[in-house]
């Protein structure tokens, strides 16, 4: 655990991510943050003609709720690529996304209280 990942300089090929996303990039104002929760929609289309990467995401998400960052980690795909795949899958009705709470001060106070309470309850 002492071995930190930090930056890994390597000759990364950009080809693959762009192929996976069919050359698409995310629309400027994308709804997916790293902690947006994603789950399979109850009304997901039955017939699935999906790219292999999208199928992988769907299989993973079939197990339950995960955050976007977790989907990236479990599939081994870069975060940017995962966000694009998820954007497509939500748009096509396969997945549902639940955005994290908006950052308003009142909400933030309640959220902090909840976090503090949770930490104290768990670690005394």
């Amino acid at each position: 655990m002492t071995d930190e990942p930090e930056l890994e300089l390597e000759a990364t090929e950009l080809v693959r991510p762009y192929v996976i996303t069919n050359g698409r990039e995310l629309p400027g104002d994308n709804t997916f943050t790293m902690i947006t929760l994603v789950a399979v929609s109850d009304e997901a289309p039955r017939a699935r003609v999906l790219d292999p990467e999208k199928l992988r995401v769907m299989e993973l998400c079939a197990g339950g709720f995960l955050a976007v960052a977790e989907i990236a980690a479990h599939t081994g795909l870069p975060m940017g690529v995962v966000k694009i795949l998820l954007s497509d899958l939500v748009e096509d009705g396969y997945l549902l996304a639940r955005a994290p709470v908006p950052r308003a001060q009142l909400v933030e106070r309640e959220l902090l209280e909840e976090v503090l309470h949770g930490l104290r309850a768990r670690f005394g």
């Binding site: 071995d3 930056l7 990364t12 339950g64 930490l119």
Partner: protein, 214 residues
């Protein structure tokens, strides 16, 4: 990065794919379906300060690693054509998760302290409650650029002095002075290998975040 990481990732993917149970409790891959609120705290610090250890200690799931492919202008500014030389860098981040109630889950993102990953920082800091800055008492100077980044992104933070075996005892006041902190910024000591100690520094951070709203 060697093939070791790739195989870790593959096995993680296999593990998760072979775990069908829903509403998993602590220690399992999936979140409870009752979760309504997601919070994020950044664990920041210079290289090898103990971010990964901290996250491993605190996370209820084995820490996960994700990558972002970044394009950045190369350092070579002598480019005569004016076309910027772009290089791509893969930045890896470790993160962990803590389910704090049926409805609330907290993610802790280990965040690299390098100045050049501005876009990554923008993404990570957006919506973050705050940052816990881990510092090594023997390498305080390496924390300066990290703190610059945290402050530039407007993130409130607390300092956790990660105790290392054999490190000379540094009083927390000395650390405060060396880092030129505001009087209200919390400075706590922490052993990133120890759950109670690490949890204590998170609690100190959140208490501070609350005090700022008063």
């Amino acid at each position: 990065m060697g093939s070791g990481l790739a195989s870790d990732r593959d096995s993680a993917a296999r593990d998760s794919a072979s775990r069908p149970e829903r509403n998993a409790a602590n220690g399992d891959v999936y979140l409870r379906s009752s979760v309504r609120t997601v919070a994020k705290i950044l664990i920041v610090g210079h290289f090898a300060v103990g971010k990964t250890t901290f996250i491993g200690t605190m996370s209820e799931i084995p820490p996960l690693r994700t990558e972002e492919v970044m394009t950045q202008a190369s350092a070579n500014i002598d480019d005569l054509k004016g076309a910027p030389n772009k290089t791509t860098t893969t930045v890896a981040m470790d993160f962990g998760r803590l389910t704090l109630s049926d409805e609330l889950v907290l993610y802790m993102f280990g965040t690299p302290g390098q100045q050049r990953f501005v876009r990554l920082w923008e993404d990570l800091s957006r919506g973050a409650l705050g940052a816990l800055v881990l510092v090594d008492p023997q390498r305080l100077r390496e924390s300066f650029p990290v703190m610059d980044l945290v402050e530039r992104h407007g993130l409130p933070y607390a300092i956790a002095v990660n105790r290392f075996d054999g490190a000379p005892p540094h009083s927390l006041d000395e650390v405060r002075e060396a880092l030129d902190l505001l009087p209200e910024t919390p400075v706590v000591s922490c052993d990133a290998r120890d759950e109670q100690s690490s949890a204590g520094s998170l609690i100190a951070l959140v208490e501070y975040l609350m005090s700022r709203l008063n």
